[in-house]
């Protein structure tokens, strides 16, 4: 038997949807200002041409491509983790999936902006869209950059659908509540439209669950393909420390690592800001913390393997990039990366006290910085020392590039704050379902202990 699982804790989730929350307002305002900075800097670049950015010969990929790889990496927080946890039927996933999937969607949108910004003339982006025109322009399918366009588009469409489908029953729950409490409000109208007329019949649930399961299975290889293809943007070029066979898995591991980092940080802030510790409990942080530790180990292993083979091979051009990383111009970045991505996680995460919300959030913040640095080292570190030494050059970002980076963080925060005010950040029906399953199991267990009680 399973009784109502709608608890008083749901009120904490639904409050941001129905009432004014000063914290959310301030958050939206501050991040909104950063969004203004983003579009101002981008507008300035469009008006004055790409020369206002610091990219120059031979470093033609600077902050924009670093940010692109960084945000696409972060997008692996949600849909992939959520899909893996769904497929493996991990019960503790229920409060995590929605906030993780939202991270994916917004990070992908922002990641997708950077190639446009990097183009300098974003209005010619349609050259990459496979449409025949009177001029006969077709994309170059041999280029990994073109594979990127297709993979990221596929992942974005899949992630948006994977986020929206399970939200329909939640919108219906809120619609039914609002229809009684405040039927004529604008928000009530929004939820009526968003619920799409969902009724919650057995056939609807059956189809929805079949759809979610199928999409979970499809989305896992897509997510893996996305960051593998991003890695091939580099690995397919014969550049020192790029042309590596392990770049695919190295990038995928790094992407999930940075994704879990942002998820831990977001969960900590949500728990603090919305007071939803009943959902984002210590147990959830502990379990995700273990996953975080596993990825810290994997990433450290891949980084060691990647650098060891370059050092051992002792090929001139590669050693040059390697030496600059270890003890040269980029050494400050490199050792900071090692401290925040390897040493700090290994000092905190193996212990249960370290896998508490604050501990994981601190590690998460460090790993985010570390993973951005990793991408900076890969992109700028290599391009600064190409094989032909007479083309060596230095790169330093301008205020436009820094402004766009900071603004992109603001855009992410702004989208997330807006999302919290439009949809419950924890899936109501999935948590309720978990409660039903728990309630169903408990009496069965008791009946097994006292078989006579069944007859009575």
């Amino acid at each position: 038997m399973s009784g109502p699982a709608a608890s008083v804790h749901e009120e904490a989730l639904l409050k941001p949807l129905s009432s004014f929350r000063p914290k959310l307002f301030v958050g939206s305002l501050l991040t909104g200002l950063l969004v203004v900075l983003l579009f101002y800097a981008w507008g300035y670049q469009i008006a004055n041409d790409i020369g206002v950015a610091g990219i120059t010969r031979p470093v033609f990929w600077g902050f924009y491509i670093v940010n692109f790889v960084f945000w696409i990496g972060i997008s692996h927080a949600g849909t992939l983790i959520s899909a893996i946890l769904r497929v493996t039927q991990a019960e503790w996933r229920r409060p995590v999936t929605r906030c993780a999937e939202a991270i994916t969607t917004f990070a992908l949108m922002i990641g997708g902006l950077f190639p446009l910004i990097h183009l300098g003339r974003p209005w010619i982006f349609w050259y990459m869209v496979p449409i025949p025109t009177e001029r006969g322009i077709w994309p170059n399918f041999r280029s990994p950059l073109m594979w990127d366009v297709l993979a990221i588009t596929t992942y974005l469409i899949g992630s948006v659908m994977y986020l929206l489908l399970p939200m329909i029953p939640d919108f219906a729950i809120i619609r039914d509540r609002m229809m009684r409490e405040n039927p004529k409000s604008l928000k009530s109208l929004f939820f009526r439209v968003a619920a799409l007329g969902w009724r919650g019949t057995p056939q609807q649930w059956f189809s929805l669950e079949a759809g979610i399961k199928t999409m979970a299975v499809v989305i896992i290889p897509v997510a893996v393909s996305v960051h593998t293809i991003v890695s091939w943007d580099f690995a397919m070029a014969i550049q020192p420390m790029w042309h590596s066979t392990i770049f695919g898995p190295y990038f995928v591991v790094g992407a999930i690592y940075s994704g879990v980092a942002v998820l831990m940080l977001a969960m900590y802030l949500l728990r603090k800001g919305l007071g939803i510790q009943e959902y984002l409990s210590d147990k959830v942080f502990n379990n995700l913390g273990l996953m975080f530790l596993a990825f810290a180990m994997l990433w450290s292993y891949f980084t060691f393997a990647e650098h060891l083979t370059v050092w051992y091979g002792n090929e001139h051009a590669e050693r040059m990039v390697f030496d600059e990383r270890i003890s040269g111009r980029f050494s400050g970045f490199f050792w900071t990366m090692i401290v925040v991505n390897t040493i700090i996680p290994f000092l905190i995460l193996p212990f249960k006290w370290g896998r508490k919300p604050l501990g994981t959030a601190i590690v998460g913040f460090g790993v985010l910085i570390g993973m951005w640095i990793e991408r900076y080292l890969i992109v700028v570190g290599t391009l600064s020392f190409p094989r032909l030494t007479y083309t060596e050059g230095f790169y330093s970002p301008t205020w436009v590039e820094v402004g766009i980076l900071v603004g992109s963080v603001g855009l992410f925060g702004f989208l997330y704050f807006t999302f919290i005010q439009l949809a419950p950040i924890v899936s109501l029906w999935e948590v309720r379902e978990g409660e039903h399953i728990k309630n169903r199991k408990e009496p069965a267990h008791q009946a097994a202990l006292h078989p006579a009680s069944e007859e009575a």
Binding site: M1, P4, P130, P202, P221
Partner: protein, 165 residues
């Protein structure tokens, strides 16, 4: 009752199941009964005699095949439209073709899965809200039965009695 339906809200799925069994025994056709809940109870609480069907694995597979074929053809036709001199080598080699075809397979599967879910669920739907819909938000199970105007009182009393016993 104004909509020709008799609605009853049950606190637990077990109570709803008892009422549904009773309706089945009384010969009420499964199409005349609608069960609604805020959580998936489709394996637990369904009208007696009704069957749940979904074509999702098959439509997803069909969509994947279609998407893969479309993307493969896009690459092939591009090569044919622009026969660059490549010394007998393919204009677009097998590995890039494989990557692009894979993305086509995935996007085809995703889009057809979503389309099938929406079709099978009848979304977007235009049915009006019922008088007890707010009970679903409270995690109650709502059972609605098509019935004659005069039969409602007796049936409701019976349903409540059955659920209580």
């Amino acid at each position: 009752m104004a909509d020709g339906l008799l609605h009853a809200a049950f606190r637990t799925s077990a109570e709803a199941r008892v009422a549904l069994n009773r309706l089945g025994q009384d010969g009420v056709a499964p199409n005349d009964v609608e069960v609604r809940s805020s959580v998936p109870l489709e394996h637990d609480v369904i009208p007696v005699g009704s069957k749940l069907r979904s074509k999702i694995p098959w439509t997803s597979l069909a969509g994947a095949t279609l998407g893969g074929t479309a993307f493969f053809m896009m690459v092939k036709l591009t090569s044919e439209a622009y026969p660059l001199p490549t010394g007998g080598q393919p204009i677009v080699g097998l590995p890039p073709t494989g990557v692009i075809t894979f993305e086509g397979v995935a996007i085809g599967a995703v889009l057809t899965t979503v389309a099938t879910v929406l079709l099978e669920c009848g979304l977007p739907g235009l049915k009006k809200a019922g008088p007890l819909d707010h009970h679903i938000a409270l995690d109650h199970v709502l059972v609605s039965v098509k019935c004659d105007e005069g039969a409602s009182t007796a049936w409701a009393a019976q349903a409540v009695e059955t659920a209580r016993s």
